[in-house]
Every structure is written in C-alpha cells, then in structure tokens.
C-alpha cells in the first residue's frame, strides 16, 4: 500500500503549504463578502449620515471666516409676508462681505413664495443678490419662474419681491402657461393674481377648441343658418371703440 501512497504523500509534502492556502481560502471566503457588504452599506448610508437638516431662520451650517467675509454653505432665509404666508430662499452658498452687510451674494438659489390660496410661486436661478431687509432678490445667470398652476417663465435675469410675490424680468422672456406658449421682450409676474404682463412685443401660440370636425361632405347643420344676432358681443350690439366693455376691467 505504501508505494501507492508514496507519490500522493510526496505531492502532499511538496505542497506542504497547501493546508495554509486552504486555510487562507476558507478565511477569505468569510472575510471578503463581509468586507463587500460593509463597503456597500457605507456607500449607501453616507449621504443620510451626512445630511443635517438646519431649520432656524438663518441657518449657518458651516461658517468659514476669511478676514471678515462670512460664507455660509446651505443657507436658508425664511420669512412671512403681511398675511403670514411663508416665503423662503435656499442657497447652495451665500456670501456676506461683512457681518453687518444687509445684502447676501447667493450661488445656486431657489426661492419659494406661498400664495394666499396655498398655491406657490418658485424661482430657480444660478446666482443672485438678496437684500435681507426688504427681501428683494436680484437673480441672474438664467432664471426660471414657475407657479404651481402651470405658469413657467424663463429669462436671463429677474428681480423678485418675495413678500409682494412679484417678479420683473430684466430682459426677454420665453415661457408657457395653461393658456399657451409665449415669447416677449419683458415680463412682470404678479403671482398672487396669477397675471403675467408681457411687453416689448409678444408672440403667443394658443390652441383653439378641438371641435370634432364633420366630414367635409356634410351639409352645415340647419341650426347653423340661425340669425347671427345672438352672436353680438357681450356688451351692446355695435360698441363704439371708446365704449370698451368694462367686463375685462382694462382702462
């Protein structure tokens, strides 16, 4: 029997370190998956661990003082208008050149104004200058104004009065609303009344009622021949130009 085993034993002996290798593999089979799990978990949980919600009026998450410039990361400025509705400006980074400075230079800003019927108007912009006293924001570098009921205005820059909930574009705007797409030379948004005033030349595309069209061959239905008098405009029969009907309230 011995001669048969001899070669095996020889192999075994030569591979004397085999058992160590086996042990190494056995250990690794346990350690490696655990290590992988640990790294995966760390990757997933890291942002949550990192997010610290600061929620007081002027959050100074991390104060980096260089001479007396105050640089705030993740700044948030909140306030309420006369009727108690909340407005808020969030900034990726805010710079005040002196502690007493009343204007803050903001990078990566997002502002939000709550309207009386709890709809909201929003401002997104690359950067802006925010006046802390009167809560007026001069945004620039590409500004997008939005309202929660479907109005969107894009422009290069705009001045936003947060408590008054108005925004005035610095130049041409393009945008869309429930009633159609538009371009204009300038715009003033009065978010509370949901009115967007466009000036400096306006082009707008509206979609008319999509009435199902009868096949071309059909005869116009008889009632189409009715007298068009009922078609008179809402005011009197033939309004002289000066007597513009008041129902739309414009001068």
């Amino acid at each position: 029997m011995r001669p048969i085993l001899a070669p095996l034993l020889a192999d075994f002996a030569r591979a004397g370190d085999a058992t160590a290798y086996d042990r190494f593999v056995a250990v690794m089979r346990l350690v490696l998956p655990l290590a992988a799990l640990a790294v995966g978990a760390a990757a997933l949980l890291w942002p949550l661990v990192n997010e610290r919600e600061a929620s007081f009026t002027l959050s100074r998450e991390e104060l980096v003082k260089r001479d007396d410039t105050i640089r705030v990361l993740g700044a948030r400025y909140a306030g309420r208008d006369r009727t108690g509705k909340r407005f808020e400006v969030k900034a990726v980074e805010a710079l005040q050149n002196t502690p007493a400075a009343r204007r803050v230079l903001i990078e990566g800003l997002e502002a939000r104004m709550t309207l009386s019927d709890d709809n909201a108007a929003g401002v997104h912009a690359a950067r802006g200058l925010y006046a802390l006293d009167d809560h007026v924001l001069d945004a620039e570098g590409g500004v997008r104004l939005t309202t929660t009921d479907g109005m969107r205005v894009d422009t290069a820059g705009a001045t936003v009065d947060l408590p008054a909930k108005t925004a005035r574009s610095a130049g041409p705007v393009t945008g869309s609303s429930r009633l159609g797409r538009f371009e204009a030379g300038a715009a003033v948004l009065t978010a509370e009344d949901r009115v967007l005033r466009l000036d400096g030349g306006v082009t707008m595309r509206i979609l008319p009622d999509q009435v199902s069209r009868p096949a071309p061959g059909d005869q116009a239905a008889p009632e189409d021949q009715t007298r068009p008098e009922d078609q008179a405009p809402t005011d009197d029969k033939t309004p002289a130009d000066d007597k513009v009907p008041a129902e739309d309230g414009t001068p």
Partner: protein, 163 residues
C-alpha cells in the same frame, strides 16, 4: 381697362344678403392660432389673454388684425373658445378683406361675426358696405347683412363686354 359700374346699383331689400364663396371653405379651426401684439396680459385665473397694440392673429389662411383682442378659454380644456377683437378690425383670407369695428371668432360655431359698419374689398375691385358680416368657416361664405334701409350697398367692377 374694366370701368367699374359708375351708378350705385340699387341696394337689395334690407336684410337680404349677398353671399360670396371664398378660400375659407372647410377652414380647419383646430389649428393653433398664432398671435402677435405689442403687449399682452395672461390672466390664468380668468382664463383669458388680453392682447393690445397692433394685434395680429393668424390661423392658417384666416387672419384677424385689431387694436385689441381678447382670447377666452374654457376652464377645463384650457383651449380658446372665443376670440373677440375690437378697434380697426380687419378680417383677411387669401384674396379678400373686410374692415369693421369689432369681430368675434366663435371657434365651436366655426363662425366669425363682424360688426359695423363693415367695408369689404376684393382684388377684383368689388366693394361692399354693410352693417354686419358673417364668415362661415365651413361653407366659406362671407354673408353681408344690412340691419336697416341702408342695407348692403356695393360697387362691382364689371369686365368690358367682349368686342
């Protein structure tokens, strides 16, 4: 050259209409309407847009010019049901135009009604005045109506009789 008929022909009995076919026949009223103006106010809450200053609304062949134009939208479909124009209103199609004080484009009824006085001209030199014009966007008929004795009066260019 064709001499227009000098004498004003007797206006037809008041209320009668002279109907003239045109390229607005089977006009597709569902196409978008492009509107240009000096200024505009989008009033989402009232579902209307008020355009002011050299307003021009174009839908395919149909063109409506006015000093002031209001587009009224249906609240649930956000689509324009009615367009009201006021002040120096001009309706144009490919080859003809009518001028009036006000006009209403009722999209669902596919009809444009213009109020007066309405003056109408056509490339052929024909001219008409009336109190009211109704342009039917299905049949393409421009129907002029006179509300009183003045009725509809017109001047038509008659080509020379062949020699």
């Amino acid at each position: 050259a064709a001499a227009p008929v000098a004498a004003q022909d007797a206006p037809p009995a008041s209320g009668e209409a002279a109907a003239v076919p045109d390229s607005l026949r089977n006009h597709d009223t569902s196409q978008p309407i492009d509107i240009e103006a000096r200024s505009a106010e989008i009033r989402q809450r009232e579902n209307q847009v008020v355009f002011e200053g050299a307003v021009r609304a174009v839908q395919g062949v149909l063109q409506l010019d006015a000093d002031r134009l209001i587009a009224l939208f249906s609240a649930d479909t956000d689509q324009a049901e009615r367009v009201e124009a006021r002040g120096n209103v001009v309706i144009r199609s490919a080859r003809r135009a009518a001028r009036g004080a006000w006009a209403i484009y009722d999209v669902a009824a596919r009809r444009v009604t213009m109020g007066g006085p309405v003056t109408f001209s056509q490339e052929t030199g024909d001219r008409l005045t009336a109190d009211r014009l109704v342009v039917d966007l299905e049949t393409g008929l421009w129907q002029f109506e006179g509300a009183d004795a003045a009725g509809v009066s017109g001047e038509f260019a008659v080509p020379d009789a062949p020699q």
